[in-house]
Symmetry: C2
């Protein structure tokens, strides 16, 4: 019995008291590492996802990746500028759910919440899958275990988060900055090697499956937009910065934009000049690494660091998803269990829910990044748009100093992200985006249904109407008058104990036995008169051998006719076996009996347990 | 809610009152049909199972099937003579379990019981598989659905038996006598066609995989011994005969022996002169039918009748297995649930158990008769031997008139079946018989463990020691003095109702609230004083946010310090949602709380239900 708690303590550590709950403040460097790993890590797959689409139009089309990447970087600039306004306006942290709810109303807020929930789940799926791909690119022998590896990484993340990852930037900084430095080194070496003419490659002949069209290019653009996921994380976590929070957060966000832009364009440019063709079993970054650096220790270092930053990116969702669930649960749109602090002061249920959802997606999509990408980014751009639109509304309502330029910036951001959202949905719709388009309204519907239920319960349980004046404190009755029915199977020690209990709580007691055809009635009555003659024993006929129906009839009549308006206690003696499996050897009637009595709205059904 | 009972009533019919329970008496013709279908139907596969083994030694070995069949018929004669003695000695029906228990003691009785249980399950598996093979031989397109067909037939049998198949011989007589007539027609036509020289075939060339050896021939003999399964059924059901029961039963048993012998030898002889080689996808009877009668309507008739009689054979187990389970459960060796008459006056649980076990075997062995045969017959011959040995013992103890010849007959039978049992086990051991050899002692162990448990419970619950004199009827206490603890989450209508209940059963009440860090204590106490000031409200600290531990501590202290020696009632208010899924939206703490609180004796945990 004490096995499970022990295992749990080893894995998760000791229960923490509520008083240990506190927020840590992060330096800008640490904050960049902690809050931006999701955004930065998308460099590991965004270029590849553009190339995977373009390659269908032959090798000539691959060079289109560079202008597409530049367009995405421009979009990134707009989003960053736009979110700088949000950070200033919500110095306590403005997630899309809160911004949209505050300024646009309940419904847009819930749409933003649903979108974000879906996207956080997809972030875990994509990041873990991409991290595993970095590993299997370096060690192709691990290829067949892709899904298992993904699930193992996910369970490790879950355990770490259930334990409570202190967001202590120091540890988190290492892989983030190692990744940034590695990618910069890769870019610089790659450019140098190419400039000195050490590498002269050209594209292999690739069969053209598809002509170039605007729609096709838009599809590649949509795939690349996944690079923008996670940019909003800094605006959610303003409170994690040191004072002055909003200024530090804005600065860090700008840095993030610049670094992400350089890395993304750099990798895309390299894959152009090195004529990289996407490959099913190796990532583009891995191919570039081998070409530029050879398969040496630095190559393995890059792959390892890529795996780590992608784990961190998934970890971002482990911080954000449970927090979003907490907000939604607190407001009554998700089950209350999601608002409970677990033993280690984290929202354990949210962490487990996220893991389950992401694991299902990994299993369905077999840990293949490209398969999930069409679902990804729909949610993020929905929440971008709603959040920016909310800001626009806010500026127009508040009209604080300098509101015009802020409003302009946010309007521009809202329009740009809305257009991109349309592009993403229209180009990816049939390839999987429809799933998200369908899922968001379903989620919103569920939110509202849950809310209605909680409101209904609160209304029904409310004691507002029984106001103090109309409902004075009732003194305890002088003499207790309480009826009880005791069910008797055989006359054994368990029954004797139940009768004793009945005597201690009630003054009007009747014992009932059901004869299903095998009772020696005379003998039972005789024994009864010897031992329990103060309580009448009623023997019920059961021509159809059912215990439940005659009892139910009797109790219903007893409650309604003789004791209406007062509580009746129905007492069932049960005996407790040493092991649960011993219990299987005895009739399970008690369970059905209790359910049946409850179905007829008997309010108090009590089992008196006799321990063998 | 009323959906399941409706479906049940359509499938199984209305519940029958106990008074409808009665036994029907059968004429000898009807009894032969009802009780002997298992034995007779083995003609459909016994010859084939001999040939399947012999064919490994080349076509020359196939002709050995005839002497083997004759040897089996001799054995049949011995068994029939032997069981004639049992019928006379046990005119009320002497199953092996009862005969062995009566005369040899508990342990041999349980071994016989376990053997029979296993063999009844295997009878269903083999008969259903063979019946399906008759069908798929006629319609090869059904081959891929073998397992599904087997399961469908089994479910139909189960439903029919749960409904209560009135063993009205009239319906059962049709397939049995149709089968007997068909096989006789087939034999006569086959002999005629051969005698008139219309058919001249010879064995095809078959590669010899195995040399002939005594062991090999013994294996073929063992496989053929499955023809004897079911012969004991008449001696189990003597009471189903008209008066004088035992004479009629003996006569019928003799008839069974003669008919079975002729059919078995006939089929085997035909397969010799028609040079039949066993085939994976067609039964020997089907091949013979096509050769002798052509693929015409009479051929299809034979296949259909074969399917029907094999269904009847399986149905025999559906009568015998639940009855055996009833005997074992009545004596406390199997769970009591197996001794309960169901709504339709049948032992429903035994019927369901048999179906489950047989279905598992069908799935494991993919509905292949030859794969199950090595497991089969071990149990039957074990119970044959024990039953005959029991009879020998009985004759020597009773020494009634003419006991010497009866004892001789039974001794001969016991020795013969014991030898055959040895042969069967040794030749089939590695091919699957070991499973049964291992399963029998395991089953016996389980029987004994269950028995020990029931005895332990009975001893612990016994009121023998609290004899009338030392335990006079206790009058109800003049004034009820009873303590209660009410758990309070919020102050709502559910809580108010629970407090009212507490007032009606107890005079010493305390209300307890656990603050996990989110309670507005002042507001709660203020509201409390307005509404429930007569009951003290205690607010417990919970630094680790657990509801359960502080409550458990409090209740334990409350009981030990202030109210030791009397019952304490712990009252938990719960509210009942309209649907079970609504319940998921509320904390499931009540469940864990109840389990945690129940760990102690002399404490009664009651939920007071508030219906929304």
């Amino acid at each position: 019995m004490s096995f499970y708690p022990q295992i749990k303590q080893i894995l998760l550590g000791k229960t923490l008291p509520t008083s240990a709950h506190s927020e840590e403040r992060l330096s800008n460097y640490a904050a960049l590492a902690v809050l931006s790993s999701d955004a930065l890590s998308s460099v590991a797959y965004a270029t590849e996802e553009i190339l995977v689409i373009l390659v269908a139009a032959g090798s000539g089309a691959l060079s289109l990746s560079l202008p597409i990447a530049v367009a995405i970087i421009l979009l990134l600039g707009i989003v960053v500028l736009s979110y700088r306004q949000t950070i200033k306006a919500y110095p306590k942290g403005g997630g899309s759910y809160i911004v949209a709810r505050d300024n646009l109303g309940l419904f847009p807020g819930l749409v933003a919440g649903a979108s974000l929930m879906i996207d956080y789940i997809l972030t875990v799926t994509v990041s873990i899958s991409a991290g595993t791909a970095a590993l299997t690119s370096a060690f192709p022998a691990l290829q067949p275990f892709t899904v298992s590896l993904c699930l193992i990484f996910m369970v490790l993340l879950m355990l770490a988060n259930l334990r409570g990852v202190k967001e202590s930037g120091n540890i988190f900084m290492i892989p983030t900055y190692a990744f940034i430095v590695s990618i910069f080194v890769l870019i610089i070496f790659g450019l140098y090697k190419h400039a000195t003419g050490q590498v002269v490659t050209s594209y292999p002949e690739i069969p053209v499956q598809q002509g170039l069209s605007l729609f096709f290019i838009m599809r590649a653009f949509s795939a690349g937009c996944t690079a923008l996921t996670g940019v909003e994380a800094i605006s959610d976590g303003v409170l994690a910065f040191k004072e002055p929070e909003w200024k530090n957060a804005r600065l860090t966000l700008t840095f993030l934009g610049v670094i992400l832009g350089i890395m993304f364009v750099g990798i895309t440019y390299l894959s152009n000049i090195y004529h990289i063709v996407p490959h099913e079993h190796e990532t583009v970054v891995s191919i570039l690494g081998r070409e530029i650096l050879g398969t040496g220790s630095f190559y393995y270092f890059i792959q390892f660091v890529t795996l780590l930053i992608l784990m961190l990116a998934a970890n971002t969702s482990y911080a954000d998803f449970p927090r979003l669930c907490y907000f939604l649960a607190r407001d009554g749109f998700l089950p209350r269990q999601l608002a409970l602090l677990g033993e280690r002061l984290v929202y354990s249920n949210g962490i487990i829910l996220l893991t389950l959802c992401a694991a299902v997606l990994v299993i369905i999509f077999k840990g293949d990044v490209s398969a999930v990408i069409p679902l990804y980014a729909v949610g993020v751009f929905t929440s971008f748009t709603l959040s920016q639109a909310g800001m626009v509304r806010r500026w127009f309502v508040e009209r604080s100093s300098g509101w015009r330029s802020s409003a302009l910036m946010n309007t521009f951001g809202a329009i740009a992200t809305a257009i991109v959202l349309m592009v993403i949905i229209s180009t990816k719709f049939l390839r999987g985006a429809w799933l998200v388009v369908v899922a968001i309204p379903i989620l919103v519907y569920i939110f509202l249904a849950i809310h209605r239920h909680y409101e209904y319960v609160a209304r029904r349980l409310s004691i507002e109407e029984i106001a103090p004046c109309s409902y004075p404190p009732r003194p305890k009755p002088e003499v207790i008058n309480h009826p009880a029915v005791v069910l008797v199977g055989q006359l054994n020690r368990g029954t004797v104990q139940a009768l004793d209990y009945a005597r201690s709580i009630a003054d009007d007691i009747v014992a009932v036995h059901v004869d299903i055809g095998s009772t020696d009635r005379e003998r039972l009555q005789e024994k009864w008169q010897q031992l329990e003659s103060d309580i009448p024993l009623k023997i019920l006929e059961s021509p159809y051998r059912s215990l439940i129906e005659p009892l139910l009839d009797f109790v219903t009549r007893y409650e309604a006719q003789q004791h209406s308006g007062v509580f009746t206690t129905v007492i069932i003696p049960v005996f407790v076996t040493r092991n649960w499996w011993d219990g299987l050897l005895h009739n399970q009637t008690t369970f059905f009996l209790k359910n049946a009595l409850r179905a007829t709205k008997s309010r108090v059904v009590t089992t008196v347990r006799y321990y063998l």
